[in-house]
Structure formats: C-alpha cells, structure tokens
Point group: C2
Chain length 415, copies 2
C-alpha cells in the first residue's frame, strides 16, 4: 500500500472517533502541541536550516526562501496561533435548527465535522501547524501535503504535533503528513474521494489549477485575488487616496491586496495625478489604459494580460471607466471573485455595486485588505474561498464543518 | 463556438441580471410557465410519444420507458410542482448575519444565488421543468443536459419554459437545454468552470461517477442510497417490522428505500422469522449472511457485493450483528452516507447511533423513506446530497444559494 493510501485510510478511521471527541480533549491537545513546539525550537530551526540550505543550492527565489525561512519569531507566531484556536468555541455538536413535522417526527440539524480534510500547500512550514490546529478543533482528521522544499521542517513539525495530539487522546492518524514529495503523491491523494472528504489547496494559481483539474474530491478553491478598487465620481478623494494606497501597499504579497484601480472618468483628471504621486512615492509600478495615459503619458501601457493578473507585488494597473456600469462589467469579467471595493458618497451607487459585483467580499469605502478571518472576527482562518459552493470568503471553524439531520420518531412510516 | 460553450456563456451573462431580479418577476415567470404547459399538453405528449417509440425500437428496459413516459397526469404533476415552487419564500437577499467590528466596519452576510447551475440527468422529462423552476426561484441560471432518450420531450418542455420566462422579463439564456446529446457535450460542459458554478448530477451511480471523475466544476453528489435499518436488541419488534416493511417496500425504486437490514443477534431468532414472513408476503428477494441463514436456511447467501449494492428493487440483504458497534462499523464501511435508521427503546443506543453513523439523515424509530425535501418541510427539493460539502441531505431553495459579504466602511484602512 502506498504511503498516501495508508495515511488516508488511517485518517478516515480516526475521523469517526475524532468527530465525537469532547472539546476539552481537543483543547488539551492544542495546549500540548504549543508546549512541544516551545521545547523543540532548536530541532525545528535545525531542520529548517537544512531546507534553507537546499533551497539556496537550488537557487530558489528570495521570495520563496523568505516564506520557507523560520526563526524564533516564526515559531512564536505559530504557538500564538495554536493558543488562538484553542480559545475559539467548538462548532461541533451545535444545533443549527430543530423543528417538528405534523406527523410527529422531530428533525434536528446538527453541526458535524467534514471528516477528512486534505491540505495541499506550498513551502510555508507555518501552514502545517495552522491548518492542523483548525482542522482538529473542528473535529476533522487532516492529511497535510506540503511543498518538497519544506519537507525537513514539515516532518519535524508534523511529528511534534501528531505526537502531542496522541498524548491528549486524539486517535492516531488524525494528523498526518505525506512525506513522499513527488508530484505523483499529490495526484494520488486527489483521487482518494473514498477517504478524503474535502481538499483545500493553499498556494498560487498553478497549485490551485492543478488541484481543480485533477481532483475527484470536492475542492474549496482559495486565495487568488485579482482585486479592484473603483473610485466613483462622488468619492471623497482624500479618503479614496488613503484607501487605494493602503489596499495596494500595506502588504502587496497577499491575496486581498488591490491589483487594479478603476477611476470614473468624470473625476479622472483630478484624481489620477494625486493618487499617482502617492503610488510613485511608494515605489509602485503603475500601468494604465489609453485614457489614463492620455492624462499622464508617463504611465506604462497596460496589456490585456495586466487586467487578468494578480501581481502580488508593488504593481498596479489603472483603468479610466465611463461609469459604474463599465466598472462592474470589468470586475465581473476579470475579477477572481475575491474582494472588490467602491469608494463613493452616493448610496444608490454603493447599493448597485454591492448587489451586482460577484465576489466573496464587496466593500464600500474601505480597503480590500480587510478580507481576512481575523479582521472579520473569526479568530483564525484556513483560507479565503473564491468559489460559491460551501463557503465563500474567509473560512473559520464553522466553514470546516458540515451538518447532519437527526430524525427522532416513534414508529413513523411513510404513506 | 460549440452549443455548450455558447449556452454556458449566455447563462453566465444572464446570471448577473437574474441574481438581482425581484421575486415578483420570478413568480410571474413560474405562473406563465405553468399556463404554457397546460395549454401545450398535446405538443408535449406528441413529442414524448416520439421518444417512447424510439425507446421501444431500441429495446430499452420497461423501467427506463416507464420513467420516460408522460401522460396528462405527469404534466399535471409538473404544473403542480411549479405552483409549489412559486409559493416558497425567495431566499435571495435574505440577511444571514450582520455585525459591526471594533473599527466601525459593518459586515453583512447576505444570501445570493450560486450563479449558473448545470444539471446533468437521465431520461426523466419532469426533471427538466422541476430543476429549472427551483434554480430560477433561487436566482440561478440553469443549463440542462438531459438523457438522449428524452430529447424530444425535453426540447418541447425547455422551449415552453424558457419562452415563458422571457415573457415575464427573465433574461434570455437563463434557462437553456443542451440539445447535442452525444457524450462529448457532457464532458465539454463539465470543464466549463469559468462559466458554470456548480454541477448537480441527478441519476444513477454511473452518471454520478462520470461527473465526479470528469468535472472541474464543483459537484454536488446526489442520490445514491445504500440505506440500512438496524434493529437493536431493545427494539419494539412490532414497530420494527412495520418500519422495515415500509422502508423496503413502500417505494423500492428510490434512493431512501432501505436496502439492508441489520439485526442484533440477541433478538435475531425471535425477530428474523417475523420480518421474513412479511418480506416474503411482499415478494421481497431476501439474501443473508451466515448467521441469518443459520436461523432460516431458505435465505439465499449474500455475497460481498450485496453489502455494497443499492438494489433499487424488491431485494434486501440481512446481516445478524453482534451489537451496535458492529452495526455502526458495517454502515460506515458500506453505506453511501444517505439515510440510516436504528430501531431501539434505549436512548443511549439511539444517541450513540446518531452520533457515530456518518450519514446525511440518521433516524431513530422511523422509516428511512422520510429523507425527502417535502417530508422535511422544504416544499420541494432538487436532490439529496450524499457529500458533506455545501449541502447535506435534501436540498431545497436555500441549498441552491451561496452568500456574499457586504462590508460598509467610512474610509477604514488596515494598520
């Protein structure tokens, strides 16, 4: 039996027991994990340095190495994350609805875990612990398949947390890491719909696309954010500038950063120069359509590709639109259904925008950067769904559950 | 451009407008559809007779021809279905939750349509109208791909309902039928994740399996029901017999019919002869494991295959189990996560069963036949989900929606 199949079977087996384990045991497991990580800081950093060395030899990009690199602070952050999840209320067993039918049947709709969740991710070791903690708290078994460049770090982290979980009474196999790092192990995993209930890919477009195309397991598409901010003609331009700069520059490498600026042509001549100056001060590479370049010829020409691209860097493309209709149409054509914002003082425009834009999070007069489990008040999140099935937007513990119907009768039969 | 691609693009386009159309227009469309079907009864039956004739020439099974065949009563039933959906409350625009963050941002979680729903189904013409009505009421565009044997019936029905919808002001392309009936048109449809948001297959195992294996669009798996009834040792045996007979015989061809009977060995010698007599009176073909055959050697031997099979006919397999643990384990191994029942007087046993059995609907002292949108009080349903993502069990209008977050600010930026 392959490693993937064996671990998937064990995970399924474990999930039945895990689904009915008391909250106190899950919380205790999270406590023991946190302590274990604290004590093993040296081991973790040693394993990580092997990964870093290998990555440097392979000439991986600085951005990739940055994401892979761990230090005392990274580990503190991971431990902090465990403590946050520990504090969150356990969703399992909560009654969502309850009603009685005319024939006397009582129907109870109760929250239950999803079962076995597969996480496919790139070389960010913190995802190993963050994902496992969230899945565990929501009563799910988890199968982790991280990027090959982080394998040494992941193996130490996964061993520490799965051993800690077992010490607390969590069934063996509830948390497992796939150690085979060739592509075939991912493909094999994506076909095990008999054992795995959901796949959540966490990473770039390529990873997500590969998952969607190859999985027979239901997938929750996450994270791609080609987000727009539309400055409508009645906007408070001062606020608009601050929002655009924040949405673009505060953390450009993340999915909820704004990648495109749409400006109503009625105010473009006034607004573009102001925002351009600030964007240039922040060293943002600005591209634009013809109308934008007619106002400031120093802007590079945007290509069709620009409108589709999630830059994840200090780059923005500007389009001058004839009004809200063109803005909405552009967003619904090129957007990734993540986060979209309108800056306006006109309530009717705000309403039209929030109704007609098809995205997980639609903002009025605020930065797109708020699409985040923590900012929404969920405490923690496993990702941001950009699909409409199951969960949309930031996914916290509730979104890692399903429900079942329990029907209590007294001998009812159907006529 | 292929028929499928063209219709999918039009559906996506239509879905943006459809998502914000008032309830009154959708209800009016349902009214006009009902009237149009009433007036066109002759055309529908003529088209259906062409399908029936072709099916007879192809020597299709009686069961298939029965499902394909329409008469005045079938049409009345379809019209009745339209009227039921018309009466149901519109889920779109309903506020699911609303809260304010410490920074003043107001977050509103609002129900929205899924967008474009693809229905892939077999040769049951009533599904054409039923599915379209439910999708429409929940604000979704729908692409119907029915079985080739029903193509003439489906073309007439789809034309009548889509023309009626347009008369009411529903955007063109919101309801469309794929008229190309080769397998390639299904495969092409299943890859259009850019335009179709969800695929719901309605049909047998083969259809569902093909969909899961080939779709890049999120799929809601429906309908396969290898359902069990477990008679626990404290059961009221009189009630148990009535429930088993109802669950097996009242309508054996449907997914919520019981296919397997598990009997606690403590009562097997007493219960098996009673239930066997009634099953034989109802002409049920009974198979059993060794322990059951030791009690009554006239029972045919069940094979490993029997435990896995959804018979959809007057057949049942009986297994004598050592107790609730074996019953739960058997169900979680062979069940399809649809509907499972325990007959017991012991509340602790009932609780253990409902907690540990992994299924959409878990019954205590009632027939599995109640897993049905109508019986749950949903008014109508588009199918019974046997997966855990998005929706589980009977899917009514709410389950045909997603949600979006609307965030209202006053210039907030992230620090």
């Amino acid at each position: 039996m392959s490693e993937v199949l064996e671990k998937a079977k064990k995970a399924k087996e474990a999930s039945y027991r895990l689904g009915i384990i008391p909250t106190a045991i899950k919380n205790n497991a999270l406590d023991i994990m946190a302590k274990a990580l604290e004590l093993a800081e040296k081991d973790i950093l040693e394993a990580n340095s092997i990964d870093i060395e290998a990555a440097q030899k392979k000439n991986l990009s600085k951005a990739l190495i940055d994401r892979l690199m761990m230090d005392g602070k990274t580990i503190d952050g991971i431990i902090e994350g465990l403590r946050t999840v520990r504090q969150l209320p356990d969703p399992v067993g909560r009654i969502i609805a309850k009603w009685r039918r005319p024939n006397g049947l009582q129907i109870i709709k109760e929250r239950v875990p999803l079962g076995v969740i597969g996480i496919v991710y790139e070389s960010r070791p913190n995802v190993t612990v963050d994902s496992a903690a969230l899945c565990l708290k929501a009563g799910n078994a988890v199968i982790l398949r991280g990027g090959s460049d982080a394998i040494n770090s992941n193996m130490v982290l996964a061993r520490l947390i799965s051993e800690s979980a077992e010490k607390a009474g969590i069934p063996s196999g509830a948390i497992s890491l796939i150690e085979t790092t060739d592509r075939d192990s991912v493909t094999e995993m994506l076909k095990l719909n008999k054992y795995i209930d959901v796949i959540i890919p966490r990473g770039g477009r390529g990873l997500i696309q590969h998952t969607i195309e190859n999985s027979t397991i239901p997938v929750i598409e996450t994270g791609e954010g080609n987000c727009h901010t539309f400055v409508e003609k009645t906007a408070d331009l001062k606020k608009a500038v601050e929002i655009v700069i924040n949405a673009k520059c505060q953390r450009p490498s993340v999915c909820n950063a704004t990648e495109k600026l749409l400006i109503d042509e009625a105010i473009a001549k006034e607004f573009l120069p102001i925002v351009l100056k600030r964007l240039k001060d922040a060293r943002v590479d600005v591209r634009g359509d013809e109308k934008a370049r007619a106002i400031d010829p120093s802007i590079k020409a945007a290509t069709e590709d620009d409108w589709k691209t999630e830059y994840l860097s200090l780059t923005i493309a500007v389009k001058v639109v004839s009004g809200i209709d063109e803005a909405i149409k552009h967003i619904n054509t090129y957007g990734t259904k993540h986060s979209e914002a309108i800056i306006t003082k006109d309530k009717a425009m705000a309403k039209m925008f929030t109704r007609e834009v098809d995205a997980a999070a639609v903002y009025v007069n605020a930065s797109t950067r708020f699409t985040d489990g923590g900012e929404f008040g969920f405490g923690a999140e496993i990702g941001i769904s950009t699909q409409k099935l199951h969960a949309r937007g930031p996914m916290g513990l509730n979104e890692l559950t399903s429900y079942k119907y329990i029907i209590i009768g007294s001998g009812q039969v159907r006529e």
